[in-house]
């Protein structure tokens, strides 16, 4: 999955704070100034220090985020090859993408297929593993480290390793298939039908990222809940559906959103392993953006694609958030 590991943790907290901020509401500066008695001198000095201290981030935010977002929106409405100045084409890039670019729909389909299969598989497996670990298996710490290890690997090294594992004739996966099941394994990365399963299989190797977060969630479920359920004679399955799942539903939401955003942005592995091939069967969306921008220097078209991706990610996140009120339960806990 895309991005460095810490993002997994970042998002869990990010969502908590987002919910908190939504509840509190972003304070209207005008209103709060009216409500408050005149700020004392020391309070004003503290506020000044605050702004000076966050200045590095604030400059970075304006220069490396706010400006790029605005510029990207502008570029997406132009034809731009970096050498000559951008030429205004209105919605031309978007129209081209949606109506004439054959690879746009292809890359969208590839990316969605991957996201819709790999993310639920990863979450289900991660949850099962976390629940097993949570039974306080001896050596739990070591097992947790082992499962987490693949997520620490550089993605380029991971790609090289899996190219080797997936290799036809001498690859160990095809060999295992032949020995264990007497099947002739496919040419994983050079067969258009098997390249997507190969990427999904590879993504499962990184299941430890989501697993660690599920485990932390499971460990914070109050034991009293299980004791009460057991007194009521609830079976293991009933306990899972009635106690475990509702208790960790916020964590499921976090992992789902992080997983989706990561899967939609897969790039490095596909770039190194297949370059999008064979026959564009692994032509992920970010690969299309990269090629248009830095191979063909169609910066305007690539910016339009990036904006489509931004909107898709935003809509997906909002849809998941909107449905979450039905299946996510926030306890009165911390």
């Amino acid at each position: 999955m895309g991005g460095p590991t810490p993002n997994w943790y970042a998002f869990t907290n990010f969502l908590k704070v987002l919910i908190l901020a939504a509840a509190v509401g972003i304070p209207n500066p005008v209103k709060s100034r009216l409500r408050r008695p005149r700020a004392s001198k020391s309070a004003r000095r503290e506020s000044l220090s605050f702004h000076l201290m966050i200045l590095p981030w604030l400059i970075g935010f304006c220069g490396l985020m706010l400006y790029p977002i605005v510029a990207s929106a502008y570029f997406s409405l132009t034809r731009y090859d970096v050498i000559s100045p951008p030429r205004w084409v209105g919605l031309g890039n978007y129209v081209y993408l949606f109506t004439r670019d054959p690879l746009f729909w292809r890359s969208l389909g590839v990316t969605f297929t991957y996201t819709l299969v790999a993310v639920p598989l990863n979450l289900a497996l991660a949850l099962v593993l976390a629940m097993l670990l949570n039974l306080r298996v001896p050596g739990m710490r070591v097992l947790r480290t082992v499962y987490y290890l693949p997520t620490v690997m550089p993605q380029v090294a991971t790609s090289m390793l899996w190219m080797f594992l997936f290799a036809p004739t001498f690859g160990v996966i095809d060999w295992a298939l032949a020995v264990l099941f007497h099947i002739t394994g496919p040419n994983w990365l050079s067969d258009p039908h098997w390249v997507m399963p190969a990427f999904i299989l590879m993504s499962l190797w990184g299941v430890g990222g989501a697993m660690v977060i599920f485990l932390a969630g499971l460990q914070s479920v109050p034991p009293e809940l299980y004791e009460a359920a057991q007194l009521d004679g609830a079976s293991g399955i009933v306990q899972f559906v009635r106690v475990t799942l509702p208790s960790i539903s916020p964590v499921v939401l976090f992992n789902l959103i992080v997983g989706m955003i990561g899967a939609m942005q897969i790039f490095t592995t596909a770039f190194v392993m297949t370059q999008g091939g064979p026959d564009y069967a692994s032509y992920f969306f970010n690969l299309a953006i990269y090629n248009n921008a830095f191979v063909y220097f169609k910066m305007g078209l690539a910016s339009a694609q990036a904006w489509v991706l931004l909107l898709i990610v935003m809509i997906m996140t909002l849809v998941v958030f909107a449905t979450s009120s039905r299946w996510v339960f926030y306890g009165s806990g911390r």
Binding site: A10, P29, I54, Y67, L143
Partner: protein, 276 residues
């Protein structure tokens, strides 16, 4: 009841231990492949335990491309950008944790919402920006942005840690006339060793493993990072020298893996602090 729990534990171990072996197998396979001669590698069936061992992939892989230089380049970028990220993120995190301002909630919400932005939206304009000031094919685009707060995640990590320090620690220093910057430097910073360790490791690993940014900004071979060199390895060779490729991959991966092992407890503490 207790016996049932014990049975559950044994059953769980029966799933988790083979699963762990499946997770570990690719690492083992990478190691053995790096210790085989190319003729042993492509034979069928593969050798589960290589015999004889051949260590020549390491010197050969490392000299086929100037990987020594690439390691140095990558380390240089990772160290300089980590320095900036940790310094600026801790300062910003401190301000968000301990100082009051009417605009704080607004900026904090803004900070956190930047985490959701797909990197590709920022990629092209940032490239155009850095190109216009002549930074393409230098390490500056890979280092300088880290000095502006590192990342939202790091700022958040520091904020959570600093927020957990009891107010009394600062009250005493305030009485003594310590300014806000002094509070950060003299009181908060020495107490935050675990947070600094976690942040250093996270950012170093991110920078060490990064592929996309070097791919876009670095053109000349001598300035390549290991990730770039490794990705270009197989295309420079006629037939893929898997043993050398695995040797170099292993060396590249060893750095973040070793750091992870040594800093594991700090990292997990950092995560726990951040999730409170």
């Amino acid at each position: 009841m207790r016996r049932q729990r014990k049975i559950h534990r044994i059953l769980a171990a029966l799933v988790l231990i083979p699963g762990a072996l499946v997770i570990l197998f690719p690492f083992y396979w990478m190691l053995t492949a790096s210790l085989e001669h190319i003729s042993q590698l492509v034979q069928f069936p593969p050798q589960l335990i290589p015999h004889p061992l051949d260590f020549s992939s390491y010197p050969r892989g490392l000299t086929f491309l100037p990987f020594g230089r690439y390691f140095f380049n990558t380390a240089q970028i990772a160290v300089l950008s980590t320095l900036g990220a940790v310094m600026s993120a801790s300062l910003v995190g401190f301000a968000f944790a301990r100082l009051h301002s009417p605009t704080k909630v607004f900026f904090f919400t803004l900070l956190l919402s930047t985490m959701m932005l797909p990197a590709s939206v920022l990629l092209i304009p940032q490239f155009v920006l850095f190109k216009s000031i002549g930074w393409v094919n230098t390490y500056l685009p890979l280092i300088v942005p880290a000095y502006f707060g590192g990342s939202a995640f790091l700022i958040f990590l520091f904020r959570q840690f600093f927020a957990g320090i009891p107010e009394e620690v600062f009250d005493a220093a305030r009485m003594d006339g310590c300014g806000n910057l002094g509070l950060y430097w003299r009181m908060a910073r020495p107490l935050a060793v675990p947070a600094f360790t976690a942040a250093t490791v996270f950012h170093f690993q991110f920078s060490w493993n990064d592929f996309l940014a070097p791919l876009i900004y670095i053109n000349s071979n001598s300035k390549y990072t290991i990730a770039l060199g490794l990705a270009g390895f197989s295309s420079q060779y006629g037939s893929t020298p898997w043993n050398q490729l695995m040797a170099v991959s292993l060396l590249m991966a060893l750095v973040p893996i070793l750091i992870f092992f040594f800093a594991q407890d700090y990292l997990i503490n950092g995560i726990v602090v951040a999730s409170r």
